[in-house]
Symmetry: C3
Subunit: 388 residues, 3 copies
Amino acid sequence: MSDIDQGTAYGMAAPSWDDELIEVEPGTPAGELLRRYWHPIATVEEATATPRLVRVLGEDLILFRDGSGKAGLVHPRCCHRGTTLYYGKVEERGIRCCYHGWLFDPEGNCLEMPCEVDGGRYRERYRQPWYPVQDYVGFVFAYLGPPDKKPALPRYDIFENLPSGFSVAADADNIGLEGDPTPCNWFQTQENVMDPFHVFILHAGFSENQFVAEMASMPDVSWHLTDLGMKSYQDRVLPNGDRFHRVTEVVMPNVRIVASPFVERYGPGESVAWTLPISRTETKIFSAIVVPDDFEIPRPLYEGRRWAELSDEEHQRLPGDYEAQVGQGAVTMHSEEHLAGSDRGATMFRHLFRSQVRAVAEGRDPLGVSFTESDARYEILAGNFLNP
Amino acid sequence: MSDIDQGTAYGMAAPSWDDELIEVEPGTPAGELLRRYWHPIATVEEATATPRLVRVLGEDLILFRDGSGKAGLVHPRCCHRGTTLYYGKVEERGIRCCYHGWLFDPEGNCLEMPCEVDGGRYRERYRQPWYPVQDYVGFVFAYLGPPDKKPALPRYDIFENLPSGFSVAADADNIGLEGDPTPCNWFQTQENVMDPFHVFILHAGFSENQFVAEMASMPDVSWHLTDLGMKSYQDRVLPNGDRFHRVTEVVMPNVRIVASPFVERYGPGESVAWTLPISRTETKIFSAIVVPDDFEIPRPLYEGRRWAELSDEEHQRLPGDYEAQVGQGAVTMHSEEHLAGSDRGATMFRHLFRSQVRAVAEGRDPLGVSFTESDARYEILAGNFLNP
Amino acid sequence: MSDIDQGTAYGMAAPSWDDELIEVEPGTPAGELLRRYWHPIATVEEATATPRLVRVLGEDLILFRDGSGKAGLVHPRCCHRGTTLYYGKVEERGIRCCYHGWLFDPEGNCLEMPCEVDGGRYRERYRQPWYPVQDYVGFVFAYLGPPDKKPALPRYDIFENLPSGFSVAADADNIGLEGDPTPCNWFQTQENVMDPFHVFILHAGFSENQFVAEMASMPDVSWHLTDLGMKSYQDRVLPNGDRFHRVTEVVMPNVRIVASPFVERYGPGESVAWTLPISRTETKIFSAIVVPDDFEIPRPLYEGRRWAELSDEEHQRLPGDYEAQVGQGAVTMHSEEHLAGSDRGATMFRHLFRSQVRAVAEGRDPLGVSFTESDARYEILAGNFLNP
């Protein structure tokens, strides 16, 4: 019998994923955890007098900015007869439905019902479902969770007291994708942050070195829990004997703080990014970066061309994060995985995330949620450090 | 607690629609009501020797016209082996399947089975499922209901005894959409006919005045049941003191009789139209219009361009019936509506329609169904009237 | 009551298909029968150092050829973290995943785990799911069934001991479709081989004669079981009194052996083809043909143009096998069929196929499966014969 094939794909069990990690919709355990935090949903420039459709955590919403400069984020279907407010007209005080003219302010209050007697005697009874928003570091942040649990919007130290000549750039480019969403679940994008080993393979060993020489050797790696999430240390001894200590950080649940892999300078990281779950199978990274005034964020190029210009075969030859993560499928199949020692960062992050999903399900507040502005001030830990 | 946000979209119930209003498929209560009436399915010119795929009430069917001039409407799958008759050859006596050559007449009778002994000794046993059709006012009308309940095809007074120099134009343009279906449920298109208030907002107040000055002021509105359906009165006093009395009419279930909103002249309406439910989420309006001979029906233009040529942002700036109705979704969500006083026409039409759905479910004949040609003669009530 | 319409489509039952004939997925009765045979999945030239996605029996797989010339067919998701091996790098000894660099040989053995201690001390524990493949007559054949039931790959007499100046051409053109799959279930394509009557209608009587004069008259037809499947005889007396005896053959389950309908010469057929079930609704024919060296297989043309260049209306006017079979739907609806005497070939094939589905379900080996190379040598029966 020794010549019978072993390990073939015949009879493989149907694959499955882990709902507790990947769900984003309202009412799901993971979706309820995600709803306890503020999320960037667009740049401040994208909120205008022209209504804009945005999708966040699986919900379609309409973003606008009224004539007074106040941004609004509302349920798309008018609470009167259901016509989308995408075709609404934005006015000084709010947005007006095209069908019968009901006018709503950014908090959904109905201000006018022009086809009703007296312009709507009972208009206080009607309210367009809405969500609170705030502008910060160039993005509109929204809170889609239970109103009585609304936290303060976290503020990061590197964006306060900017040195002269520096400002914060809000980059909605989704790392080379020109604003298009990444067609996979957010979790496989986020857990990648705690996986420094892939840098050595995917970004250095596999095709061409996508970063710099300092990053191309195999580091010593360790992972540690923090007050707000977790971090990894990547330690390398450089050829000249210097010790290169790199720290990468995740703030729960979807903040990613990664110092530049191009290591232009040593010191704390200069950016904070958010992995937004658009829907269960769409993801987008928003990055706030401290840059010299008038600095233009360069477009990543592959052999001189933009990612979207590469042929299918070139993507095969030059895979990057997109190919590795979207290549896991719209949602990866956890049942087929075989995690090994180098996956300990992903394992820890999953464990941490799951513990917070369960904390919320049990009625507790999750990690990193603060209810006062003074508590919601975060110091970043990430950076590239030399001989620390 | 007063600063906790009120009325946010968090925790909204899952939306739902009202099946009793929106279903069109065979065997559904609303679908069975719709099947008790004749429906236009194509222009008479569209029934030719080249088989044509048409969809009506969610059913895919093949329309053709045989060599003798008789139109046929048959189930697409050949009753022999299931090949679509879309690839059939139309002959003098009917349509022949391309695969094994069975020939069917417009009533589905099998006339030839050329691969069988004696050309099919038992061919009388086989019949291609078919539906009866009739040509009228330039359209092919079909009856998809129970054979023993087939009514007479209604004829409208304005199309009989046409004045010299006038004829009936059959317009399948779907009001500016160049024949494309409207991608939403038919009911939200049809109930709009009983909603005169939206004219004041959507067509007059919102962007530009899409009609004429006479229509741009808020009317006094009332609604009334009729023998065949319902109607609305819209009364305005014109600046010169004249009383402008406009009547809009729905004949059950999907006939829409609307005098021109351009009010070129006063008097009874000059057209009858049908809101065809193509499928649960596709709709098309067919209009029969009395026009001077050789009159060409003008294409609606928006700022000089065709609807399909407008950019997405221009559709946002110039919304019309399409945006308002398709903007309610492929099927609107009745559970999220908040109807007000000005919606009384829609409410009455829903009530009327629902009562007829239930009448059919209980074995009664629905409103407006006549079984003799003499009874199936309808006078239209709609029009624009001056000082009536 | 005699004027009530008879036989209309009103109240037709919901249609259904016969699962036992059409399923292809793992674990389904028909899918398990299909998995007991070798199937061509690509040409040998299509297995290269660039990973290629192939779909077979509803399974997505990655085909490659390593640096030593050995073809490999593996499950697409890397057994480590699930990234598709489509973005893998093919090396001398196998394929390496882009994400963390695990290297697998063509039989799925894990050779390297570069991010693990010592390059993966426990790598023998991991195996990428794979399937065995063999090159034959210009195609890569794969076996997707239970390993302990793997049969020998059948070899056909006409491809052994080729006459000098002749070779075997591997044609993956899918009969005029330039390699594109046919969008319907494989069974309706395969049973067509046992349906010689359609030749007389579809290919001769319907539009233009697609073949030759010898084929254009109605034959006497009979069907017969064989040791490996079934065959049909089509006998015609030619105008000159000669007897033209044509034999068409199916080897279970999906081999189709059809002599040229252009009858360039008399004698045994010169090709063997396979109807590959790509998925439940995608099918492709691979043909191995004995041809003179350097012979180029001509593209079928319709009125001088390629099939894909014809307009929709031209396809209606010139239907062929594609229109007849795809015109039955993505999966035909067996419940709506009315089989007649001329369908006896299809009926017999369905009966034969069903008996083998059940044989496998009951634990027996299906028809035509041989476990030694010497037994797996098949003589073809098909051909065009004169005065036999």
